[in-house]
Symmetry: C2
């Protein structure tokens, strides 16, 4: 669990976690060349500063130099920060399901819905490093389908695990999928809505970005591919422009639950070596 009492506690917990991992692997801190750190955005991956986050108490409206602070706490390797979904895309693009592909989108359907865009062999960053938040493309006009981002009608508001669970009134989205499979009418409506949102997102991604591959990770995608990848594929085949539809495949994450961790390690390795320009 991420500590909820401010950035100092988060840094201390991160350092403790790193030390524990090193102990388990019987590796000394001085033998570590670089550390990767993934966080929800917005952040500045070049300076290692978390700009603000809506998800962790104490980070709201306060820029925080988390990479430098963690590096100081570890008293060892340099720390390289990037957004969790960007780290995931680096992982999939380097050794995973998008290896060697120059135009791909990484999408996570999990507690939230997020993503990262690689186009022409480069990570799309945008003007202030927040590009890729595909889960917050509005795909419906329902103002009552509120999103935690303060908007409504976002893909995340329909299709994320948290939103599905909240809408059904249970603790976990797996219950909603199980209820729908058992014929519960209200669960079926919610799951259908989630599928429609993901279908629209898939069509929009294909038409707007023309990727060669869409890699879909996250716990919901992993456990419910028939309700995530399948409707995305069907919608692309039926509704997207034909040329980009013929060029794209929708595939599951190869690195699965470890995708952001593996991506962080790869990013740290490459950045410490002065490489990895494609994703910077």
């Amino acid at each position: 669990m991420t500590p909820q009492n401010g950035p100092d506690s988060v840094v201390a917990a991160l350092a403790a976690s790193a030390r524990s991992a090193l102990d388990a692997a019987r590796v000394a801190m001085r033998d570590v060349a670089a550390a990767g750190l993934s966080a929800p955005g917005p952040l500045d991956h070049e300076t290692g500063v978390v700009l603000t986050t809506q998800n962790i108490e104490g980070f709201v409206d306060a820029d925080f130099p988390i990479a430098a602070r963690l590096a100081g706490e570890l008293d060892g390797p340099p720390v390289f920060l990037d957004r969790d979904t960007v780290m995931a895309a680096i992982g999939e693009g380097t050794i995973g399901a998008a290896q060697g592909i120059r135009d791909f989108v990484y999408l996570t359907v999990s507690t939230g819905v997020g993503g990262a865009i690689v186009s022409g062999g480069r990570m799309i960053r945008g003007a202030t490093n927040t590009a890729g938040e595909l889960g917050h493309f509005p795909v419906g006009f329902d103002t009552n389908v509120r999103c935690r981002c303060r908007s409504y009608g976002c893909v995340e508001a329909y299709a994320s695990g948290r939103n599905l669970a909240e809408a059904f009134g249970v603790a976990d989205a797996s219950i909603v999928y199980a209820k729908a499979a058992a014929g519960d009418a209200r669960a079926i409506v919610l799951i259908g809505r989630a599928e429609a949102a993901l279908a629209s997102l898939a069509v929009g991604i294909v038409n707007a970005l023309n990727p060669e591959r869409i890699v879909v990770g996250g716990s919901i995608a992993e456990h419910e591919p028939a309700h995530v990848l399948a409707p995305m594929r069907q919608a692309i085949a039926e509704r997207a422009f034909k040329v980009p539809a013929a060029a794209v495949s929708v595939v599951p994450s190869a690195l699965r639950g470890d995708v952001s961790i593996i991506g962080s390690a790869l990013a740290a390795r490459d950045r410490a070596n002065g490489e990895g320009r494609w994703f910077l």
Copy 2:
């Protein structure tokens, strides 16, 4: 009017139009260094081949080397092809409202709704050169709001001039705006729906692509900025992620009705000189 009886007639009409323009300008064909040609996609800008188009009779499901054919017909300068919205973005990015900006989106709201994306100082092309079709991001679930692209719920299906006019049953969208201004309830609903679609698109663009500027051209945007740019700006301020919302401005096209023509000329000039790598 574009001839509707096949590609040969289109090439002949293009050549006649070019000769007529040269005559009017008292310029000889041999003094022309390069010609730019913009067309609706999908197409291959490198080879000058139009892959297929849904909009011009005779181009359906037939790849056509339009740039080479027109060059042969002109018997003079090389011809450089690109998508109309890409040419527009080249125009705005070179001498227009996005001059010097590395992250911007060009959006046209006209007969149709289209766009082009520049990110990190480069035109986003995608795997098969169709990226940028932002008008066909689905923003609503209404299956009865059909789009000419074969899908439904696209921004274009709600907000394009053609779709507005068809939905209201008149020849031109200007009538729908006039009726709405005069209090016609049905027109007000249609215009409100168009505004909502453009608002959702604006929020989605800001969250997904994090541009520094969104340049909005096209006849509807030019004549009805209060119904196009204004709702986009308002939605970004109220609903988009705060960091990218603070970084973006929504501005009208500087080159207006001539944007694609000017962009085509600039693209032809730069490509003939072996320059213009940012947009290739």
